[in-house]
């Protein structure tokens, strides 16, 4: 048992190091493309770390996390646009291009939206939960499309990447480091939550909600809290994603995006600390490698995914580090 724990820890450290060293080296060799690729991995991994709290720890199969990813993206896009045009937001509140402020807005908005969505969705379970979270995300998607003030179907460009005090975010490497640091922070939060009293209740809610209720802990409250925290982290990643691409669009809110976030987790290993990181690496590398060979890379992604679901349950972390055990 100690053996597997160590193996997972070594794998985790290896992945974390790899994700740091490759872009550093690429930057030295003046290959900014690979830095951007690593940034994409870090941001998608952070989004999936958020989802992993609901899905991996809580067993809540949210098929609508793109809603939060997209809301985070729109928070960045809308604030940046207003600031760029020197228009106040509303009631004379000034907009900002400061990343920390934007992150705060993204996180708060996602938390506030996640509470009612979660409160209604969590009254149900199983397939209903999957479909309702999907439907709520679609609702926000259609809202974004039909609201022309912020680009509607065409999305919203961020002309100059938002700023971070003391860092030149227009350069690929500093921006990567910001994203990487936030990913580590997200992972630390996931790890702390998983091991805490809250985490114990959340794990139990996944394994057997009746048992949790029978000891006097209402599963609903635990799940709703987890859902909101999960949404906030995914929303933060959305804000970073918009800044990475300097673009926000309804596609960030689409159900394909929700599906991809789940795919990241399953490729890497559901509920595992570094599952989303491993999954995001695999996914972005597939996209890059297969996408270079064929336009039809999604066909192969589909086949690989089907293979993983049918035959390699537990994902990459499951293959490398074995089955997860709880003390």
């Amino acid at each position: 048992m100690r053996q597997t724990v160590t193996r997972e820890a070594i794998t985790n450290a290896g992945l974390a190091l790899l994700l740091l060293v490759v872009p550093l080296a690429a930057s030295v060799m003046d290959e900014p493309f690979y830095v951007t690729l690593a940034t994409r991995i870090a941001v998608l991994a952070l989004a999936a770390v958020g989802l992993n709290i609901a899905l991996g720890l809580g067993g809540l199969v949210s098929f609508g996390h793109a809603a939060f990813f997209g809301l985070g993206g729109y928070a960045a896009g809308i604030l940046a646009t207003h600031a760029f045009n020197a228009e106040p937001l509303f009631l004379g509140i000034p907009a900002t291009t400061s990343m920390p402020a934007i992150w705060l807005v993204a996180v708060v908005v996602c938390g506030l939206v996640a509470l009612p969505i979660g409160a209604i969705s969590l009254r149900t379970s199983g397939v209903y939960f999957i479909m309702i979270t999907l439907a709520f995300a679609q609702m926000i998607y259609y809202f974004a499309i039909s609201w022309p003030a912020y680009g509607g179907q065409d999305g919203l460009s961020i002309y100059v990447r938002n700023t971070f005090p003391g860092v030149n975010t227009a350069q690929p490497l500093p921006f990567f480091l910001i994203c990487y640091a936030l990913l580590l922070l997200g992972l630390a939060l996931f790890w702390a939550l998983s091991g805490s009293r809250f985490g114990a209740a959340l794990h139990a809610a996944r394994q057997n909600a009746t048992r949790l209720a029978a000891v006097g802990i209402a599963p609903f409250n635990i799940r709703l809290t987890a859902f909101a925290i999960s949404a906030m982290i995914t929303g933060l990643a959305g804000a970073l994603f918009a800044d990475l691409n300097r673009f926000t669009s309804p596609s960030m809110l689409s159900w394909h995006m929700s599906g991809e976030l789940i795919v990241l987790i399953i490729l890497g290993g559901k509920g595992r600390l570094f599952g989303p990181v491993a999954g995001a690496m695999l996914y972005v590398l597939f996209e890059f490698a297969l996408g270079g060979i064929t336009e039809r890379w999604q066909l192969f992604l589909g086949l690989i995914l089907l293979g993983v679901v049918l035959f390699a349950r537990g994902g990459l972390m499951g293959l490398v580090a074995g089955k997860e055990r709880y003390g």
Binding site: R197, F198, H203, I217
Partner: protein
């Protein structure tokens, strides 16, 4: 007589045409083991579900420690001190026996919305949990995942969890089910010591255990209680013998 810990009055619950609970009244007083017996399909589990809050009765009242339970869900009733065990073991399967009990200790200590301190290094959870496992005779199995425990030990673990809640009353739904004679005997001895902590409403098929433990017995047939009394009275009640033991009148 002191006010009963648990008092059920004229409880009714139907599923379509089936009257699963048909005007049941019973009570549980401090210090007693009150056994609920009856043939299969008599509605014993349905009754337990309504008391614990996983089913809503159609009518009637359930009062626990003087408080009406209507509108309170299972978790709220558990927090008030109503601990239950399940007919088929209901455990957090991936958690070890210890962590299953720690969850109950955590619940008893209050809010679970604590996000940072690791539970595995929290002695205020582990020590009481370990003590409960010891009492239930499971100390040496503390680190085995619940899914890997044999049936009898899962039953013991359920009771250790209930015990860790420091309850004001136990609802035990067939704790002996599927246990061998040796296991039943041990569990009987253990339950006998439990009544000092809190009264027990015991649903059980094992008549040896019922007759050894119960202060009072109620007999449930087709959703109705046909008799309540001391063990000897029930044993000799002609209506019980007819309805329950299938003897001719």
């Amino acid at each position: 007589m002191a006010e009963p810990v648990l008092e059920i009055r004229d409880l009714r619950k139907s599923f379509g045409a089936l009257k699963a609970t048909d005007g049941v009244s019973l009570h549980l007083v401090s210090g007693e083991i009150h056994a609920l017996i009856g043939p299969n399909g008599a509605g014993k589990s349905t009754l337990i579900h309504q008391i614990s809050g996983s089913l809503t009765p159609d009518s009637g009242t359930i009062r626990f420690l003087g408080q009406d339970m209507a509108g309170l869900d299972m978790a709220a009733r558990a927090r008030l001190g109503l601990a239950r065990s399940f007919q088929t073991s209901s455990l957090a399967q991936e958690f070890s026996a210890l962590r299953n009990v720690m969850l109950a200790v955590q619940a008893k200590q209050g809010s679970s919305l604590r996000f940072f301190r690791p539970v595995m290094r929290d002695r205020s959870l582990e020590e009481p949990a370990m003590a409960m496992l010891e009492r239930a005779g499971l100390a040496d199995r503390a680190h085995v995942p619940a899914a890997e425990l044999p049936h009898g030990e899962r039953r013991q673990l359920e009771i250790a969890i209930a015990l860790a809640l420091g309850p004001k009353a136990f609802l035990l739904d067939e704790p002996m089910a599927g246990m061998g004679p040796e296991g039943s005997k041990n569990l009987t001895r253990f339950l006998d010591t439990l009544r000092r902590e809190a009264p027990i409403l015991l649903v059980e098929h094992d008549m040896d255990a019922v007759f050894a433990l119960a202060d009072r017995v109620s007999v449930l047939v087709y959703g109705r209680i046909i008799a309540t009394g001391k063990v000897d009275e029930i044993r000799n009640d002609p209506e019980v013998r007819r309805a329950y033991l299938g003897e001719p009148a």
